[in-house]
């Protein structure tokens, strides 16, 4: 019944091209796929145009950005319906368009784009959420004088992100990936006047670079092994059996196959982008950017790019997996994801900056997605990605609305009682919070997260991730409740002179829409009607209530629900039932909130309940388990040490030996003074010469002398040419 209804809907949505389905299969790809490139191209074009605008042309800029993304959204929906209809006809909707970009003799680099369920649903999600956030941003940034620049960056980001999604070539994906990174940098540092923002931008850029280097290595390796960068190319792509078999047959170091090694490298890139454990440090600081940016980039879309990447290369990651078994790379992904999930949840408990809490919850949720991918396959992870995109965007926009309402106050200890003041925000925020913490049945987060937990439970390798995820779920519920309790309950603890207010409609409207989706999306992925899974895997869709009666599913669900309720309850008991009050004694000093620092106490700030009970742990959590400090202490320290060492070498070893020689000679000279005075002068001069030469030697490397560079250049070329010729002589092109 559902099937035919789905197919009916499909054929209704795609009447005009019902004839050329067959074309889509047998002949060339259908028109929507042909013009798929427009989806990213249009926002990029808009970005270019906006860049040409004057600072004063705000409305035009916003109009361009929103309009272009709107067009992209329409196209995306069209593509989505196309895929739906193909699926409804029972086909595997995967159409690719590829073309040669550069031809280097025999080898040529190919670019191309792809339309399959994965890409289609991501397209719709990104352009839709993006559109809402654009609208929201017009309200949020209304008072910023760099309005136009902001929208230029936003559109550029949207275009690049859509490009990442439709890319069918690792190369194209990597290009867009880097543009995305660039825009993220630009937007985090949007208020570059704030040193903390500038620093955060730099941090984000560099940290993600670390991942991207590995990613690039992986790409190059893959290209070297398979000779193509296309994912799917009618059997010749890198994600298709032939290439994969070749990769599997290739052994690499440490008993890994080439496939596994490349998978790990690519995962490093993904980890950098979506803040997985070693490389997560940039994500919380990224909250220095304007809130819409945090919502769009660092919650909904960009950070999901990593997950999407893993989903894209999933055939590679899972290549060689025995039935029910797993691969090395997937195991790594699962463990790292699980650890990240727990870590994020833990740290989020002890944060006081409203956006930081959300940031850490994002980190943790991304961990969930990774685990989902690794243990349950593409569909599970992607489902959580989609739902999370909606409710996390909702939460961030809500937070933004709160901040906006509280006059740029971000510390939840100085809010409170806003539930009455800004009702819309409160309600929507509560929806988002419940969805995030996975409140049963009604909220999308429940289904998606539950699917992940179920998958982790069924994972043959180890129970570890499963346990970690459960604890994470508990904590998630807890810290979200804590936050809501702080922000919306109790009484206003902020400076008495500032009065919070509800945000304008352009901000609350997107909130409401997102809230609807945060609730509604859940139905797509219930075990009874696994629409999403079968859509992604383009299987036939069946509905059966027996989906629930799989062994151990319901108990598991129940257990998860219990945990969630436990978390909620604890939060309620600690933060709502006796509302948090400001200690009446301490006077209020309202000073400029400095962002991106450890949450430090200021007089007038209330002491958290947990803090008073378990200060040590609290301190650790509040300082994010000292990760930044760790890096500062290790990586940075090493660099510093290296620099210092070279400096020391310069001074001591070079100059020092020289000086020592000189001293020695000098001493000798003094000793021989009585005997012979010529010596002294001689050695003296000698010593001085030595010193001079030593100094000169050191200076030699440094001076910016063009002629010297020329010389070195020429020498290098000479050597290369010589090598070439010698090799030629060896191989006999040059007759020796």
């Amino acid at each position: 019944m559902i099937v035919c209804s789905a197919s009916l809907m499909a054929s209704w949505l795609a009447q005009d091209q019902a004839p050329n389905f067959t074309a889509a299969y047998h002949g060339g790809p259908s028109w929507i796929v042909q013009i798929l490139w427009l989806i990213p191209a249009i926002p990029m074009l808009a970005a270019g145009l906006i860049a040409l605008l004057k600072q004063s042309q705000r409305n035009l800029a916003a109009g361009l950005a929103i309009g272009s993304l709107g067009v992209s959204l329409l196209l995306a929906i069209r593509a989505f319906t196309h895929v739906l209809s193909v699926w409804g006809q029972g086909g595997v909707a995967r159409e690719v368009v590829s073309f040669n970009w550069i031809e280097l003799g025999a080898t040529h680099l190919q670019l191309g784009w792809i339309l399959d369920p994965l890409a289609a649903i991501m397209l719709v999600m990104v352009s839709f959420v993006g559109l809402l956030i654009f609208v929201y941003a017009t309200g949020y940034m209304a008072h910023d004088e760099n309005f136009t620049r902001f929208f230029c960056f936003l559109s550029l980001f949207a275009g690049a992100m859509l490009g990442v999604i439709i890319a069918n070539s690792l190369l194209l994906l990597f290009m867009c990936w880097e543009i995305v990174g660039l825009t993220s940098y630009l937007l985090i540092g949007f208020w570059y006047q704030k040193p903390s923002a500038a620093a955060a931008a730099k941090k984000a850029f560099l940290t993600t670079r670390i991942g991207d280097i590995f990613f690039l290595l992986g790409i190059v390796w893959l290209f070297a092994q398979t000779g193509t960068m296309l994912f799917y190319n009618h059997g010749a792509g890198a994600m298709e059996p032939v290439a994969l078999a070749a990769l599997l047959s290739q052994p690499a170091a440490l008993g890994l196959t080439a496939a596994g090694a490349i998978g790990l490298l690519i995962f490093a890139g993904a980890a950098g982008k979506s803040g997985q454990l070693p490389l997560h440090v940039w994500l919380p600081d990224a909250m220095e950017g304007p809130t819409p940016v945090s919502a769009l980039i660092h919650a909904a879309t960009m950070v999901a790019a990593g997950v999407y990447l893993i989903a894209r290369v999933y055939p590679l990651m899972s290549a060689g997996a025995t039935a029910g078994g797993t691969t090395v790379s997937l195991t790594v992904v699962a463990w790292i994801g699980a650890l990240t999930a727990l870590f994020g949840a833990l740290v989020a408990v002890a944060q006081n900056d409203i956006k930081r809490i959300l940031a850490y919850s994002t980190v943790s949720q991304l961990g969930y997605m990774m685990v989902g991918l690794a243990t349950g396959g593409v569909a599970v992870g992607m489902f959580h990605l989609i739902t999370h995109a909606f409710f996390k965007a909702l939460l961030f926009l809500g937070a933004g609305s709160v901040i906006h309402g509280c006059h740029e106050e971000q510390d939840i200890r100085r809010m409170g009682g806003l539930g009455k003041i800004m009702p819309v925000t409160f309600l929507t925020y509560a929806v988002g919070m419940l969805a995030l913490s996975g409140f049963p049945i009604f909220f999308s987060g429940f289904w998606s997260k539950d699917a992940i937990i179920g998958a982790a439970h069924a994972w043959p390798v180890s129970e570890g991730p499963f346990v970690l995820l459960l604890i994470g779920a508990l904590l998630t519920a807890f810290y979200m409740t804590r936050q809501v309790g702080y922000v919306f309950f109790g009484s206003w603890r902020g400076p008495s002179h500032s009065h919070a207010h509800e945000s304008p409609l352009v901000m609350t409207l997107p909130l409401s829409i997102l809230a609807v989706f945060a609730i509604g999306l859940g139905v797509l992925g219930t075990p009874a009607w696994p629409w999403f899974t079968s859509f992604i895997e383009s299987k036939r869709l069946l509905v059966d209530m027996h989906g629930f009666s799989e062994p151990g599913l319901v108990p598991l669900m129940g257990f998860a629900v219990v945990l969630v309720l436990l978390g909620l309850g604890a939060g309620w008991w600690l933060y709502m039932q006796k509302a948090v009050q400001r200690p009446a004694t301490a006077p209020v000093h309202h000073h400029q909130q400095e962002h991106g620092d450890e949450p430090q106490h200021r007089p007038g700030d209330i002491v958290d309940v947990l803090e008073s009970s378990a200060p040590i742990i609290w301190k650790w959590l509040a300082n994010r388990l000292y990760f930044d400090e760790l890096y500062a202490a290790t990586v940075l320290r090493w660099y510093a040490a290296l620099a210092w060492l070279s400096d020391w070498l310069d001074r001591r070893v070079w100059g020092g030996t020289v000086a020592a020689i000189a001293k020695g000679f000098r001493g000798l000279g003094w000793a021989n003074k009585a005997i012979d005075s010529q010596w002294i002068d001689g050695t003296f001069d000698k010593g001085c010469e030595e010193l001079v030469t030593g100094g000169g030697l050191l200076a030699w490397l440094q001076a910016g002398r063009t002629s010297r560079y020329l010389r070195v250049l020429a020498l290098g070329v000479l050597v290369l040419a010589g090598l070439e010729l010698v090799v030629g002589a060896m191989s006999g092109q040059v007759r020796p």
Partner: protein
């Protein structure tokens, strides 16, 4: 013919190399520039001996007609003209010289080793100016366009670079004329 080299070739080659050497060794910059033009002319003659009329004349037109003049102007505008600059050679000239010598040795070795000393000269290719023009307009039209753009950009760039800032308008005025 002397050891298989036509006298004309020997003369032009000697002229070319002599000019280059003079450009390398003379103290006075203008002398360097002038001997450089001798080299250019010699190269043009070599082109003519290679039946590349068009290239040869283009060489004269561009290098002697434009580049040499440009160099000379630059020398005059940078006051490098009259005074034979003292220490014309950089401190570590020996290294540079050895590098150059090594380069020559390498190239010479490659040429000698890789080519038969006596290449039978194939018949002179019948290349008329028409054929060159046709080729420029047909199969080389894209490079032609690109070079056109490049030249335009270079023209504008050179003018802008050499354009005097407002404060130094007086001193820069003639340099604008020079470009």
């Amino acid at each position: 013919m002397i050891f298989g080299f036509s006298i004309a070739f020997l003369l032009t080659a000697a002229l070319t190399v002599a000019g280059a050497l003079a450009a390398a060794l003379l103290k006075n910059l203008v002398h360097c520039a002038l001997s450089l033009t001798v080299t250019f002319a010699g190269l043009a003659l070599l082109y003519l001996q290679l039946d590349a009329q068009f290239a040869g004349f283009a060489q004269i037109l561009v290098y002697i007609g434009a580049v040499a003049i440009l160099v000379v102007f630059a020398i005059l505008l940078t006051r490098g003209a009259g005074i034979a600059e003292y220490r014309g050679f950089s401190s570590s000239w020996l290294l540079g010289l050895s590098i150059a010598a090594a380069t020559f040795a390498l190239l010479g070795w490659a040429v000698i080793k890789s080519l038969p000393a006596e290449t039978e000269a194939s018949a002179a290719p019948a290349v008329t100016v028409q054929s060159i023009g046709a080729a420029l307009m047909s199969s080389y039209v894209l490079p032609l366009e690109i070079v056109a753009v490049l030249l335009t950009v270079a023209l504008i760039g050179a003018v802008i670079v050499a354009m005097p800032e407002p404060r130094t308008r007086k001193s820069g005025a003639e340099s604008g004329g020079g470009q």
